[in-house]
Amino acid sequence: MKTRATVSLVLAAALSLAGCAHKPHPEPPPQNPPGEPVPPEPGGVPAVPLKQPQPMQLVVQARPDTPIVSVRLVFHTGSIDDPKGKEGLTALTAKLMAEGGTQRLTAAQLLEALYPMAAELKVVTDKEMTTLSGRVHQDFLPAFLLLFTDTLIQPRFDPAEFERLRANALNAVRNGLRSEDDETLGKVGLDALLYAGHPYAHYTGGTVQGLQSLTLEDVKAHARRVFTQDRLVIGLAGPVDANIQQTVTTRLSALPATGAPRVELPTVKSSAGRTLILQKPTLSTAVSMGFVTPLRRGDPDFFPVAFALSNLGEHRQFIGVLFNELREQRGLNYGDYAYVEHFIEDRGNGTFNRTNLVRTQQDISLWLRPVVPANGVFATRGAVYFLERMSKEPLSPERFNLVRGFLQGYSRLWEQTDQRRLGYAIDSLYYGTPNFLDAYRDALTQMTPESVQAAVRRQLQSEKLAFVFVTEDAQGLAQKLKSGAPSPITYASPKPPELLKLDETIIQQKLPVRPDAIQVAPAAEFMER
């Protein structure tokens, strides 16, 4: 590990979960003649537009008790803006702007200038949002603001840097995604399966052929199209006064006022019962399952469903049902979690979800960390069993109060840094949910076990699930799934009788898998185009 990365440009490519299934002929998006209402589709999730903040809307959270200034620039552009055949263009453009130097300074000189400040400058591109976050000690603020804004308004677009960053992006797909992290591969696979034919389907970092087709001219043109004033929200926190707000706003006024029209997102078709098995050499089986949902922040069911999924399990929290039942009681793996919104771990900030992953069409997912292959189907059945149990019976009052207490306290940890507080405030502009976390804590006081169960019944039907597995014996797994045969399990240590009795049910738990919709694909060709 480097002692400290001055310019840590974290592309969503490395960690994020975009992508498209390796399908020779992806389904085309549905065509709807303009002006005609979209006919409702069973299980489909239409694109209800997000709210649009004002161009260059300012979000300021000043506090004098820190010497560190945070700047958070969120552009309403992401991998959905990648033209067909040029997948990866938005992420590479953002990265080249941030890292490739400015008209005044080469990439090396930019590093040199930022270095003694230990300033942070990170870029994350997601499906619909690109976030540039900067942090710096106030000792260096004027110089930093100049450099940071220059990367956007006067990027260098250096051909050598373009080639370097493209090579890295290709490595991230060919090696990082396909080979080096089965869990992330499973999650990107789930995006690919759920959003087949939709602009969310391809990996945020790009496809191999998409990246190979890019030119520097593509990047220059794209920057003018999507990094525009009308797509920008400016967040400032820490010791920031009116003067600093003015400086940032004035500088960024040099961006184009407008650019490309917004991409119109099609309805996402149901993937209920579909399965994708990504085959690769590996010791274990990683499992992801989920579905696309119309549920977003602001929907009356959002908070109770978020509550129910926290009950199943937040990342690395011991009180989750899945963690307790599958890991603690049965020793199946290292952890098992569930999320009401798309989840990408905010590394370096605990185990929380990132902010500014705003999406028009969200997904709900369950994630099982790698299990030994023999237990792959059993673990999947277990997850589905515990999901369904929340529909069948309300939580006991004791359990309900435990989860409620947990969320009242734990949600406060989500907002302990300036960047995260800015992130939530900026999310709220797009979802129309001011004071989102306070609203969640208020809603918790009104919920009951029955109101949560009712929302679960409305929103969390297991029949909607689609499944992704990453494993070596793909055909063997496909056969097991097709047969629907029970998946017995043996343990190396004695288990209590009530656990063994519950296992008898889990072993036979019906998986909502359609035998005719199981697809096996080699991981080595995933996200080729």
Binding site: E180, S284, L402
Partner: protein
Amino acid sequence: MRRLLPLLLLLLMPVLPASAEPPPDASRFFPYTLNTTRLPNGLTVVRVPFNSPGIVAYVTAVRVGSRNEVEPGRTGFAHFFEHMMFKGTKANPEGQRERILGGYGFDDNAFTTDDITVYQVYGPTAGLEKLIALEADRFQNLEYSEPAFQTEALAVLGEYHKNAAGPDLKLEESLAKTAFTRHTYQHTTLGFYEDIQAMPKAYAYSRSFFERWYTPANTTLFIVGDFNDAQVVSQVTQAYGGWTRQPTNVTIPTEPPQTKARSVHVDWPQPTQPRHVLAWHTPAARADTADAAIQSILAEYLVGDTSPAYKELVLEKQYVESLNVYNTPHRDPYLFPIDATLQDEQHRAAVDAVLRREVKAVAGAPVDGARLKAIQDHLRYGLLMDLETPRDVAIDLALYAGVMGRPDALASYLKMLGSVTPQQITLFARKYLEDTNLTVLTLTPKATAAGGTP
């Protein structure tokens, strides 16, 4: 635009402190007050006020890590034992801890390194009193059944599987096994795969592990955030007062000096990028020497973002995707490993030549004072910026204290960072970055699957 021109000028000037009379360096870069008490049983309790209304971090550092795994067949045990610490006591059987802490919304976790095990709990001050009682209870009275122990061993196996997909674990294992012949740093914190598979059979050993290492004198508490200090000291004193377990003396084998260059090669059966690692044995991180600070600075000097090697290999020739030094502080003499991730196998020799050239240069010619100053600023401002939450502060304090053995080790490290001279860098490089003291690790992907790196 015009009004911003002065900013550009400022950029070109040397960095100056903001105020005319700056506070001493350590307090400027670590602006927190440590209140330290040592209880009669040897437990050290450090409290740090932090402006985080209603929120507290409670971090316990035990000086035990994979370094302490001296018996053959027991690698990975310190880490496994960290998992067992969540399995309950007579007063608070398994599940009780989760019910109490979970109900407050605490984030409850732990991690293990080569040298230390760190338990970190972070959440509402409202639950602090109950948290103190639970922590004091488990460190004194941990009790778990053999079946629970056997089940948890499988979670550790799952953790190994999670980490085994990428090449880093294998790299770390191969480097450790080659560079160390006697010292326990020859195995990773996760442990050898075969030892992990055999863990379920080691119940009795696990009990002795607890008795041996989980003693008050081997443990430091860091409580950081918003709380009433007097109340907390009184609660901690009472809750931990009965903990009287005495330390056992276990000798950690000493690594003999390396006398000639070593190498190891790994063929990785999946797509990945080639790796080229140069690792020299270097001295331990101690609170009373500058060695840890020198190694942090040297890493930046040799391969940091503004180094000649970075400019040539990453930016200009683009032979290398990234350059890193894994120079985490270690309690015993460890390694200074430069890790280059190559774009292509064909550049290996050229990359090796540049890295060796830079190492020779730092040992043979005077160190650039301006670069040293920029590195010192970079590291110290960077550390300050990383301390955003009470948990960040508590964990950084625990990491340095756990390795160096003094509760204020982070402050002494920061002070050293600011005072390292060009001569110290040169002498260090001359003494330790020698060919006879070097292990070279190479990794080449041998993927048969389509689409892999050739």
